[in-house]
Symmetry: C2
Subunit: 333 residues, 2 copies
Amino acid sequence: MEKQTVTIYDVAREAAVSMATVSRVVNGNPNVKPATRKKVLEVIDRLDYRPNAVARGLASKKTTTVGVIIPDVTNVYFASLARGIDDIAMMYKYNIILTNSDENGGKEVQVLNTLMAKQVDGIIFMGNQVTPELRDEFKRSKAPIVLAGSVDEEQNQPSVNIDYVAAVAEAVKNLIDHGNRKIAFVSGSMDEAINHDYRLKGYKKALKDAGIAYDDKLIFETDYTYKAGQALEPALMSTGATAAFVGDDELAAGVMNGLTDAQVAVPDDFEVITSNDTKLTELVRPKMSSITQPLYDIGAVAMRLLTKLMNNETVDDKTVILPYGLMKRSSTK
Amino acid sequence: MEKQTVTIYDVAREAAVSMATVSRVVNGNPNVKPATRKKVLEVIDRLDYRPNAVARGLASKKTTTVGVIIPDVTNVYFASLARGIDDIAMMYKYNIILTNSDENGGKEVQVLNTLMAKQVDGIIFMGNQVTPELRDEFKRSKAPIVLAGSVDEEQNQPSVNIDYVAAVAEAVKNLIDHGNRKIAFVSGSMDEAINHDYRLKGYKKALKDAGIAYDDKLIFETDYTYKAGQALEPALMSTGATAAFVGDDELAAGVMNGLTDAQVAVPDDFEVITSNDTKLTELVRPKMSSITQPLYDIGAVAMRLLTKLMNNETVDDKTVILPYGLMKRSSTK
DNA sequence: GCAAGAACTGAAAACGCTTTCATCCCAAAG
DNA sequence: CTTTGGGATGAAAGCGTTTTCAGTTCTTGC
């Protein structure tokens, strides 16, 4: 007993009107006599008619779904953005096709293609790096694409971010102001634009402003994982560093716990400041000082921007920069 | 210059074959002469033809997308399941429409409806409670629905879980074995089946087995948030409890940090054991002991089960129970 | 009471694909 | 040299909507 689906045609027949009219009432088109509308609505209700979104998508060339590419849902930072994205999407009646990319260029390209095949109306991309191949795909897309919490060196893609350079510079300056001279820079792969083109620049700027020489022995390139951070302790301490700027909260938690577990007192003997202000910063002890970012809003604004783009509204500025801050908690003096 | 889309018809014309043949080669139908296939493939490549998944979905009544309802992506527990779901989905060429429900019954029903309107081939539901209205919607769905890490009192829905009752009983027994007699039970709303019908039962069972009287003053019903946990400290201590079983890791982290911040030594003066074994357990100090669950696998198996259901394969057992464990870390003696 | 326009409504053509069914072709069998 | 049958192909009918365009039916203002 296959469940029977009722179509717009059934409604039209029952209500003794044309499909066109039914379509109109379903879509809230005002050009329908109230009496007719009422009649149709009753039939719709009686038959429990539900429009088939796929057919609708084919006919109207709009699917009211947007694709979201995320490195890993399990990453609290990106998940927070995703939450903002979904809320706004829902507010504007869009649905989200979410796919994990693992920051893998090949997978990203493939995912992008299936997203486009599914005729999504727009795409939000999160990831620390935009490979040239990916950039090419972006260009070929007829659906607008906006980057959320993600940068592209060639900034021709709409995006929502904070001023990473300034934020990192300020964070590092804070460390310097506390008397630290040897400050480690811990991040993910330097291949990623966000690291080499933004965070590192901010780091260098702060050093330069303070007249401290840059020393690449203090640069630690690793994975964005807790374990990786934890394992860094010996290497970190052997450099004589007394503080570290870390590019990811989970990584930072690892660094800090690794230190603590090795009897290095944070913040007394070693200060740590992190980047993303996710809830992890409050979970660990000491609580971690961090650059603050409006996580949810980055996602939300990105999605809002996307709705405008999908709607062909003119937007004044396609690359929006949200404000950041510095939250002093207990991992710094 | 609106980007032109090339259709199956264009390919057919260029290759001098019928649409049917093009469709066959695109879908890997073996009934195509190799020479023809090659010819078509060349044209496809030259024209850069990409099948329109929406049209395909309309014609074939299969969208190769499944809906996933999640309480909140930002919740590490559910996000971990989601990751397992997405990976397996991708493996089977499905995409995921992800929507946050906030455990809000009304929203869940609504979301379910839009998912069905979008003709998803299947649905995975995560949530701590299945309301009667929701259950009704489940029944009306022509797409198979499986619950992941989520229970329904009336167990007629395919699902993937662990044996919560036994797991909690074991966890609480562990606490009892350490000499605790007053053990708090901290969880989210008791309206949720998972709490009143599973966890609490396990808790009571452990008490009963040990001949300890149940005392509802020791039951704490709150939100699944860090802050809520943290705020619990005074109430918790005033009951004279010396240990707590907590139903969620973030909540547990809050409880533990709240205790610690109030100079209550964990585990010496108070033991804490939590439920979900997410990475949060390792982040906090002391690390939290926990029931272990194969988070990723719960999602993965649920998705695998769903593929079978969508494929009309006969599955022997529609409710699968995965093994759990107990991981002793440092929040218990 | 009538013309002119506005407000409604319906017929039918897309939308881009899958799938059924009929047809055709050709190799193998007799 | 037929017959037979299976493999390869194409024509065309959907799939369930939206949307255009051409009516048709009301309202108004005179």
